[in-house]
Structures are given as C-alpha cells and as structure tokens.
C-alpha cells in the first residue's frame, strides 16, 4: 500500500511535468530527487533553445554557458516554476519518506501487560489474546517529529489566541444560537457530496444510500440544508473523509503531524484533506468559474463554525490538561481510530480493570 502511495506521488510529479520520463519509471524515492529534477530541467536540449524559456538569460551566442551562471539560472527558473510547486514537491517527498511505520514498531511497548492485571489471566478470550499479542500503538510512541510538531502547535495556539478565538467569540456573541445552528447544518449539508463520494470509494453502498438520502431530504424538506430533517427520518449523519477512505484501503497513518492552521493530522489525513478538497463539486464549480473566493470563504466559515462549536470543550481540555499538546495528540489518535470503526466493530478492551489491589483501603 505504501508503494501504491509512492506511485501516486510519482503520478502527481509527472503531472507537474517536472520529472523526465526516464526517472518516472523508478519507484524509489530518495534525497537526490530534487537536485536530479532540477538538473533534468536544465539539460542541453532546453538551453539550446533560449526562445522556449523566456526567463532564461543566455550570455553567449555560441551556446557556451558559464557553470556558475547555470546555477543562477536555476534559481531564476525555479521562481518561475513557482515556490508553491517546489514546496509541494518537497512536502510530498517528505510525506513519502515518513510514511514508513517501521520506527513505530521499534519501540512499541505493550500496554496490555498481564502483570498489571493479576488474577485476570484466566478470563482472556481468543480475541483478547490477539489484542495482547498485537498491542495498539500508542499516540506518544508515534511522534518522531515531536519537537517540530510542538513548534507548529505553539504557532497554532498563538494564531488561535490572536485571531481565530476572538472571531469565534464574536460570532458566538453576535449571532443567536438558532442562526448559528442553521449555518452549521447548511455547511454540513454542503459537505455531504464529499461524504457520498467517500462512501462509494470505500465500497460502502449502504452508507452511500444513507448519505444520498440525507442530502436529498435535507436539501428539500430541510430548506437547502438549513434543517436536519433526515436524522428524524432515521438517516443519521456519519462523518467520512478521504483520510478514512485511505485508511480503509489499508494505508498506514504514518507519524503524527501538526499542520499549520489545520492542526493535528498525519500524512494520510493530510492527503485526505487534499483529496476531500478535490472531490468537492462546489470547489470544481468555483474553480471553473474562477470564483475560488467561494471556496476560501466556505473554508473560513467552516473553521469558525467548528471552532465556535468546540470552544467550551477546547477550553475545558486546555484547563484540565497538564500537557495540552499530548492531550490533543491522544484525542486525535483515538478519535480517528474510532471513526474508522463501524458501530458493531467497537470494543473497549484497553481500559482499566479490577484487580486485587484496587480496593479503597
């Protein structure tokens, strides 16, 4: 599955027309890719036809080029290829390099320790033995970039403090609860097509039926999504996103990542975010009509809506936590794990249990 994703990265790279056909065949990703890509960009063929690259300065008519000038031109052209492309390539490579979960297993410590639960061994069933033998990795053991993540986290906290939270508070205080709820439902209704697409991609026809039903009922009876009429009709909302779809395809989450502004994530869910954006018909519409501003506005409102909805919970968590970063990391981990499960798959085995030593004096 990892190789599938790497292949995916290569497809994307080839879309950006930066990789030469010769390299595209290779599925191995290493640190030398960036220099190679740039070398390929400036092979003789391109340089011999200065007209094809207007940004390129060619000093000598005889085709001779000072090697140092070539370096300079590299920079000039890269600016032309746009910083965004470069940054996204670097990010993709970073993701693919970090997708290997092997380090997570190196130091896997089992919490399912029998010695902690004396006198309980005879109750272990087959399923529990499976769980004891394959302990679920814990959130704090899956964070190799912790210091970097903490840095981004404090940036997000700062941004939150100076911008997002004041906006949420204003929204909370100025807009009555009834109106805020309508906005929340309308936003959720607009996101149902993406949920539907993900239902299909996961092969979950029953889920797709429910989502389609929800969308139809709420868009009509629910007055363009302002009211959630379908939950009362027995069609409850279930969140799906492309990160969960990737998970259902067996792709590993990879290490914990804190994304700027967006917050807790991991490579898989970061891909998922991009996928959801690409799957959304409203974004297509906005893109083709050159009205991206709608997409951005919607995302902005979504952030403020989610933030306002969780204002109390977040502050409660922040106040009760000793290490808020670690708390959020664990919350994210557990929440994503739970969203991946169907209702009937849920079990709670990794919990405190009675033993011989837990009586109150």
């Amino acid at each position: 599955m990892i190789s599938l994703l790497k292949l995916n990265i290569w497809t994307l790279l080839s879309f950006t027309r930066l990789s030469s056909p010769r390299r595209r065949g290779s599925r191995e990703i290493n640190h030398t890719i960036i220099p190679n890509l740039f070398r390929d960009l400036f092979d003789k063929k391109m340089l011999s036809d200065p007209g094809s690259r207007p940004g390129l300065k060619v000093q000598h008519d005889n085709g001779y080029l000072d090697p140092r000038l070539r370096e300079d031109d590299n920079c000039g052209i890269n600016v032309k290829c746009s910083l965004l492309v470069r940054a996204s390539i670097a990010f993709l490579i970073f993701l693919s390099l970090t997708l290997s979960p092997s380090y997570a297993q190196q130091d896997a410590w089992s919490y399912a320790d029998n010695e902690q639960h004396p006198g309980k061994e005879e109750k272990l069933g087959i399923d529990e033995w499976i769980e004891v033998m394959n302990p679920p990795p814990s959130a704090e053991d899956n964070d190799p970039f912790e210091s970097f993540n903490r840095l981004v986290f404090s940036f997000n906290e700062f941004l939150d403090m100076v911008l997002i939270e004041p906006l949420s508070r204003m929204y909370h205080d100025l807009v009555p609860e009834f109106a805020r709820e309508r906005v929340g439902y309308a936003l959720r209704n607009l996101s149902e097509p993406v949920v539907f697409a993900n239902n299909l991609l996961q092969g979950d026809l029953e889920g797709a039926r429910v989502t389609l039903g929800r969308f139809v009922v709420n868009s009509t009876l629910g007055l363009a999504g302002l009211f959630d009429a379908s939950t009362d009709c027995g069609l409850p909302y279930k969140k799906e996103d492309f990160g969960l779809t990737l998970a259902s395809w067996g792709i590993d989450a990879g290490p914990y990542l804190v994304l700027p502004v967006l917050g807790p994530s991991n490579p898989r869910d970061a891909w998922g975010k991009a996928g959801d954006y690409a799957l959304d018909p409203i974004n297509w519409w906005a893109y083709h009509r050159k009205k991206e501003v709608y997409s951005y506005t919607r995302t902005g409102v979504q952030i403020i809506d989610a933030k306002t909805e969780n204002l109390e919970l977040m502050n409660d968590l922040r106040n009760n936590a000793i290490d808020f970063y670690a708390t959020l990391r664990a919350w994210y981990y557990e929440r994503r794990k739970d969203l991946m499960l169907e209702k009937e798959e849920r079990v709670a085995l990794d919990t405190p249990r009675p033993d011989d030593d837990d009586d109150d004096e």
């Binding site: 902690q116 929440r335 990794d350 919990t351 009586d359």
Partner: protein, 200 residues
Amino acid sequence: MLKKFLLSAIFLVWTHEAIATVEGEKAEAFMTEIGNKVITLLTNHSISPQEKAAQFQDVLETKFNVRAIGKFVLGRYWKQASKEEKEKFLALFKVSTVSCYATRFSEYTSEKFEVVGSRTEKDGGVTVLTRIVRPNGQSILIDWKIFEKKGEMRIYDVILEGISMSITQRSEYASVIQQGGGKIQALITALEKKSGRQSR
C-alpha cells in the same frame, strides 16, 4: 475431536451470551440510577454549592474505581514507581479527577440523559452506551465501562464520542513523565501545581 471442540465452542458462546444479557441489564440499571442521581443533584437549587460539590465527590468516589483508573493511567510507569510515589500519585489523581469532572458536569444542566443500550466485552466488563441530549437536539455519546467486583458495580472508564478518557490521560501522563526525564516525580510535581492552581 473437531466436532467436540465446535460443540463446546458453541456452548461457550451461548452461555456467554446468556450471562451477558443479564449483566447488561443490570449495568444499564446501574447507569440509569447514577444518571438520575447526578441530574437531580445538579438541578437541585435548594442546597448550597459546597454541599453540592461534596455530594458530587461522594458519587464519584463510590461509583468510580478511581484507584484502578489511576493505576491504568500511570501505565508502564506503575511498576517503576515506589510505594510512596504510587500513593502520592493516586491521592493527587483523585483530587484532579474530582475537580475535572465537577467542572465538566456543572456545565451540563438542562440536558437529558438516556441509556441507549449495552455491550458485554470479552474481558468480563460491560460497556453501557448512553446519550446526553442537548436542548437543541444534538446529542453527545458517552460509553461507560463497568465491572462488577465482589457484587458491587463500578465505573472503570468513560468513553466520550469514542475517545477513552483513560487512554488519552495515560498518553498525556506518559508524555509528561518522558519530558521530565522518565521520572514519576515530574508528573507528581505537575499535578501538585495544577491542583494548587485550581484551588486558588
């Protein structure tokens, strides 16, 4: 041989199921009772806030097994801890849990508490599924992991929207201890600081 094994397996599953439903109903009744108790306590305006807090603490201490939770939450460090550290930690953990839930529950006032169902787990515990319905119709799902020991039922974990409070707290505490150079004292100091901050 195989037939015998299959038969006994079927028998085991069957008896397991039979016991499960009885235990499930008992656990659901237990949770309904606690829920009603807490709600009457929270909506009772005739008693003083101090009295309310004391009664609330009493519910927590008798209905939750705070000691077992504390032990679990310390995770891999429980075995490393000295007897002194264990006692100190458990005392602080109790204080912090009580104050944490006291503030959390005090915000839920006009909500409805419903027991939705239960699920018997393979470790002998029962998970009771409940729902808190807010005035605007949105609901919060809370699962409670319950074990019966010596004929007495107690809550061992709270799972809020699929997020186990014990697991997240274990992860947080492990992080605090790791940042403090692997010393349990680091966690104890942090908890002391926090309880001092909250009582002021």
